[in-house]
Structure formats: structure tokens, C-alpha cells
């Protein structure tokens, strides 16, 4: 089963309160829809030690938290990844089969390019501040919905089996659609997030690809007379076929 790490810091902070609820209702729910197992690091579990450990065991992580150009932080603003930090560098060296989607201000400006240069396979994030609108009387819905629906749309696409570039392209299309449908006084904020949304690293990476070693090729020994009807699929054999090694044989008519 595929597994995703979702990081949802939540304390008395407005942005994280709304973000954590939205990621639960979107990213975590999308994962279940596509039968991905979820390691949900919520509130105090969204700490550096747990994030470092859990994210290295999976191919995809979707993380929320405050950030700046050089640092990503989690619960209570505990620093998790920062530029020139030896542990972050070591994490990246072991993250060659990991993609991370950051819902965090500014990290795509300097932190993510540095993490990619140290080995992290691919990351999505924002080069400037992620701005959003809320109507506190309508928590958790209302005007905030479009901002988080767009951000989380990349997670949905990844769970469905897309490459990271396809997931990012899909998110860009979601921003465009949301902009066209938004109330007039909110469009500029959606346009801002759309404009600073970035992908860095190997966009061809597919987090949902099968895990484990490549299947071992099996050798077939064919004895007798046979004719070939096509190059790939159909051989008519008048004799015996033996297999070397183990293989599952599927009966066909």
C-alpha cells in the first residue's frame, strides 16, 4: 500500500488552525479515496524528529507550516528544515525517492532549491507568501475553501498516480479556474498564490510507482515446432514449455 506523510501543525495560530483543518478534509480524505495509507502528524506530532523519521520512509509528503526563504517550521514554529543545516542536508541525501508538497510561505525561493541541490527528488512550494482569506464566522468553510482546494489539488493528482509535473500543472489549472469563479474582491489573492506557486526538481517522478525491486525476468524454454503469429503476444507451440525460476502463470483461453 502507498503511504503519505501529512504534517498538520495546529496551535493557537490562525494560519495553521485553518490549514490543519483543510488538509484533514482534503489531503487526508483524498489519500483514503485512493487507498493510500496516511501517517498523520497532527499538532504536537508535527515535530522535527517525527517528520524527519517518517518522511524518509515514504515517497510523498504533504506538509503545512510557517516558513521563510531559508526555513520551514512545524508545530509551535519548531524549525524542521533550514538552509546549511547538516541534518537537513543528510535528510535530503536520503530523499532521492521523495516528493514534498509544502504549504508554507516563501520556502520555494531559497530553501527548496538548496534542498533539491542536496538530493531531495522534487518539491512543490511558494516563492512568496501564501495569502488566503477567511470568514471566521464560517469556520471551516466559506471564502477560505478555494485557496486550500487549489493547493491540495496537487495531492489529489499524486494519489491518482500522476507525475509531480502533472500534479503541479493540474494545480495551476485549478488556480485558473478558481480565479475565474472567485468573487471580484478576492481574485487578486488567488492570482498572487497562483503566480508564486513553483515546482523544483524532477517533475517526472511518480510517488505512486510500485515499491520494491524490479521483477526478475523469467526465462522460457520452448521445445518443439512453433509458429509465431506476432512479435509480442501470440506463439502457437506444438511441444512443451518449461520455466526457469519461479513465475505466476495465468491461464488464458
Amino acid at each position: 500500500m502507498r503511504e503519505v506523510v501529512v504534517v498538520r501543525p495546529d496551535w493557537s495560530d490562525t494560519a495553521c488552525k485553518w490549514g490543519a483543518e483543510q488538509l484533514k478534509r482534503k489531503t487526508v480524505a483524498y489519500a483514503a479515496q485512493y487507498e493510500w495509507k496516511v501517517k498523520d502528524l497532527y499538532a504536537s506530532k508535527a515535530n522535527r524528529a517525527d517528520i524527519m523519521e517518517e518522511a524518509q520512509a515514504v515517497t510523498y509528503a504533504s506538509v503545512l507550516g510557517h516558513g521563510n526563504e531559508d526555513m520551514y517550521t512545524a508545530n509551535l514554529e519548531e524549525p524542521v528544515f533550514w538552509r546549511s543545516d547538516a541534518e537537513t542536508e543528510s535528510f535530503c541525501k536520503n530523499a532521492r525517492d521523495l516528493a514534498i508538497n509544502f504549504l508554507s510561505c516563501l520556502v520555494a525561493k531559497r530553501l527548496l532549491p538548496w534542498m533539491i541541490s542536496k538530493g531531495l527528488r522534487v518539491a512543490l512550494g511558494y516563492e512568496e507568501e501564501f495569502v488566503f482569506a477567511i470568514d471566521e464566522n464560517k469556520f471551516p468553510n466559506g471564502v477560505a475553501e478555494a485557496f486550500f482546494a487549489c493547493h491540495c489539488s496537487a495531492d489529489l493528482k499524486v494519489f491518482a498516480g500522476a507525475t509531480m509535473k502533472e500534479a503541479w500543472d493540474y494545480r495551476q489549472a485549478c488556480w485558473e479556474k478558481a480565479i475565474s469563479e472567485a468573487d471580484d474582491e478576492l481574485k487578486r489573492y488567488l492570482i498572487h498564490d497562483y503566480n508564486c506557486d513553483a515546482i523544483l526538481g524532477d517533475g517526472a517522478f511518480i510517488p505512486a510507482e510500485p515499491e520494491g525491486p524490479e521483477p526478475t525476468p523469467k526465462r522460457f524454454h520452448i521445445k518443439g515446432d512453433f509458429t509465431r503469429e506476432s512479435d509480442l503476444l501470440t506463439w502457437i507451440v506444438n511441444g512443451t514449455i518449461t520455466l526457469e525460476g519461479t513465475a505466476e502463470i495465468e491461464e488464458t483461453t
Binding site: 510561505c105 498572487h192 508564486c196
Partner: protein, 88 residues
């Protein structure tokens, strides 16, 4: 995709567009909060009803960070609607 090109849009033009967009804002909308950060990375929360005052202050050269951000967002909207993107 190339980023939006804001270079040809003045603060004055952005402010005028913002003023036009926010005219006649309903009371419900005035209380909608915008969640962002300042240049130090600290959270800032303000309402749609306060946007024009901040933008006007920034236009007058006062160090109003919310106003400067709002003028930038207004420029991004103008550039988006014009399809104006940088060549790099």
C-alpha cells in the same frame, strides 16, 4: 510558466483599480480577513474593509506594509488580466 510582469503598472494605476474593485463592499465582505505575513515573516491579519486605507497610505509613501502588499496584489491582477508575463 513565466511569472506575471508587473513592471509597466504604476502604484497609482493599481490603487485606482483597487478602489474600483472595493467600492460598495457589503458589511459581510468588509469583515472577511486576509491572512498573510510581513517582511519579517510575522503573521499579519487584516480585513477587506481596511484595505483601501492601507493602500492609500502606501501610495502616499508611508511605510505601510499591508498597503504595499495590496498594491502588489492589485498589480498582479492587472497583469493577469492583460496576459502580461515576463519574457524570462
Amino acid at each position: 510558466m513565466p511569472k506575471l510582469d508587473l513592471s509597466a503598472i504604476t502604484d497609482q494605476e493599481a490603487f485606482e483599480r483597487l478602489k474600483f474593485r472595493l467600492m460598495g463592499l457589503s458589511d459581510d465582505k468588509k469583515n472577511v480577513k486576509i491572512v498573510s505575513i510581513d517582511k519579517e515573516g510575522q503573521r499579519i491579519v487584516y480585513t477587506l474593509g481596511e484595505v483601501l486605507d492601507h493602500a492609500r497610505a502606501a501610495l502616499e509613501g508611508k511605510p505601510d506594509e499591508i498597503g504595499m502588499k495590496e498594491l502588489k496584489y492589485a498589480k498582479e491582477r492587472i497583469a493577469y488580466e492583460r496576459g502580461s508575463r515576463s519574457s524570462t
